[in-house]
Symmetry: none
Subunit: 198 residues, 4 copies
DNA sequence: AAGTAATCGAGACGGTACGTCCAGTCTTACA
DNA sequence: TGTAAGACTGGACGTACCGTCTCGATTACTT
């Protein structure tokens, strides 16, 4: 279950296994996009991919695992976009990318099921959390940089800050389902900056 | 805040219907607590409650409806607790209650499935939203009161503010799964107050 | 359950009852014609006729009863057709009418279900038998007349004869499902006459 | 006459399939005998046989198919009894066996429902017809033999003859429900022979 | 003409069976 | 030996009718 993003072709791996995994993930991703997360059925994937159910169960312990892998496989390769030198610009950039990802990306429909599944499956929970940590690393860096530069209070709790910044975005996406505009993101960031001023 | 339990006997309602509804909701709620939302099966409810499947389908068009109703029926009746006169105390009280509800209440495990289901089922989505609006009314009132008293900037967008306040709580519960302490809530509220000062 | 053909309006009968019975029978007959016997559902009749299920069950003990009544209600009033003076003409006439009824009439599709139901429901069995006796009375008369005139052997068992005559017609309709032509009827009658000559 | 039981192990057949089919048919036959054809429920068969409903539906498209197969599976293997050299003896033997089968055999109660079902289900109708053709083959042979020997008229229509012979038996069983004695069979055969003499 | 009683519609109720979908396991046959 | 094919048990789905059962709301008959 090693992260498929780390190396597309792991060295000592049976090429048939690699082929099966890839075919299945492609089919799962396609179904995820076309029919939403509810349409991602083992049965359906097997039929669509031509890979036998047996093989699928050999490689993934649970449906959630598979969904997660499919989800991860369809993430863009993160071009390490440059959001400029100012903290405000960086935070807005990161949160806007997040909010676009949560609402408009191909993998957007996979988010709620993953969150649900993560509530019960500890292993999957860890995967999701790890994934998130990576995603939020840039945010963390930006915050630490600003603290170092004296643009933010020195005693700021970075983890709290990330919650305060990303929380409202997830809230609108998952809970209140209000629109997620750039103006909203800007307002969240501005409130944060005002409160975080040294 | 008028929960559905406040009026246990609607006037012009067939008593059989009332009885069936109550029995089913009780069983559904029990299953929700015991087995999580995935365990809330029509079949299971029917068996457990003694109410026939037919009858259940007569009263609820979809499983989601039933799950939501069961969820709602198990919410406490909200004794309109007094959180004191200060805005800070009110916001902390409300958010602490929210975070306790999301993590420790008996209906806590039902939240992620509801959010997931709401992403596909528009009807359920509306129900959840409506529910949320009602729940957040107290928060809204507190904010408006403070604005009127001049404790907050006059140009504050209340909906954004609610996202900024509740967002981090949901974020920790659903996404990052970091602990939801009173300290965290206090920090979120304090940041908000600092940024919202007139 | 008095034969509905005997008197369309029984004297001491609540007109509401009469109305319900008639409405139900009309709907049942219509369904019988349109959808075959399998389509004759209590539920369906209730919906179509506007008569409540309760009322239907009040008047008929079983579905078979109802089907039989509907079947009987749609039989033509038997114009006592004249088949001429010869035994051959009479028998051919009677059997041809029977075979047309069994294959082309409106009530034709009701026959197999009635036969099936009669195998289990003794009451219905009796009704069907009684009905059949009436139908075959003319045949019996024709045979007795011919015996009296010396056209048939004196020792002929009339009941056997009726079986020998009607049997092949029912056999083709119910069992072998070969076509039921007038030629076939004529051949059956001719064989019978040859064998029954004094 | 080759029953489906004669070859219990078709060559290229998955043994699991063979096992399932056999188990299901055994249960279906048992239910057919015990409760009549109306008691042959997919659900009931599944429960009784331990074979899953899914599996049953995999092997039989319709309930009728299954009922028919079960019916066929319970027919005796026809030991090709010898009815002697005379046409009369042969016909009496065949018809007596038929009438015993229709009234006393364990599959006797299954006959009316099959006839009813055959009226709607064309596929089942064909099955029943095919079955009948096979069963009547001996009768057909006897008639042809007699015609060849000059004991019957050369211009006899064999299909009509079969109707004339078997019809009365079915008639008594299904329609008039008069007793089916050997005397009746003998009388039917004698009438036939008298009329068919060259 | 009013009052009583039969009859009605409406439809809720507990049930049984339907035929379908999917899950997850296990067996067979093929490379 | 691993894979594709697919049969297997099992659980739940949502639907159709069943036959029973309260309910008022009309009727019809009776006084």
């Amino acid at each position: 279950m090693a992260g498929p993003l780390s190396a597309p072709t792991e060295p000592g791996l049976d090429p048939r296994v690699a082929r099966s995994r890839a075919t299945v993930l492609r089919a799962a991703a396609a179904l995820l996009i076309e029919q939403g997360a509810a349409g991602v059925t083992i049965e359906g994937i097997a039929e669509r991919s031509g890979v036998a159910k047996t093989t699928i169960y050999r490689h993934w312990k649970s449906r959630s695992q598979l969904v997660f892998d499919a989800f991860e496989s369809m993430l863009p390769s993160m071009p390490a976009q440059d959001y400029g030198p100012t903290l405000r610009g960086q935070l807005c950039g990161i949160l806007n990318q997040l909010s676009r990802g949560l609402t408009q990306s191909e993998w957007a429909p996979a988010v709620p099921p993953l969150i649900d599944a993560g509530d019960r499956d500890p292993e999957l929970r860890q995967l999701v959390q790890a994934f998130l940590v990576v995603r939020m690393e840039r945010c963390r860096e930006a915050l630490r940089g600003a603290m170092a530069r004296g643009e933010l209070r020195r005693d700021l709790d970075v983890d709290v800050a990330i919650g305060v910044l990303a929380g409202p975005v997830f809230y609108r996406r998952l809970v209140s389902r209000e629109p997620l505009s750039e103006a909203f993101v800007a307002e969240v960031v501005d409130q944060f900056l005002r409160s975080g001023a040294p």
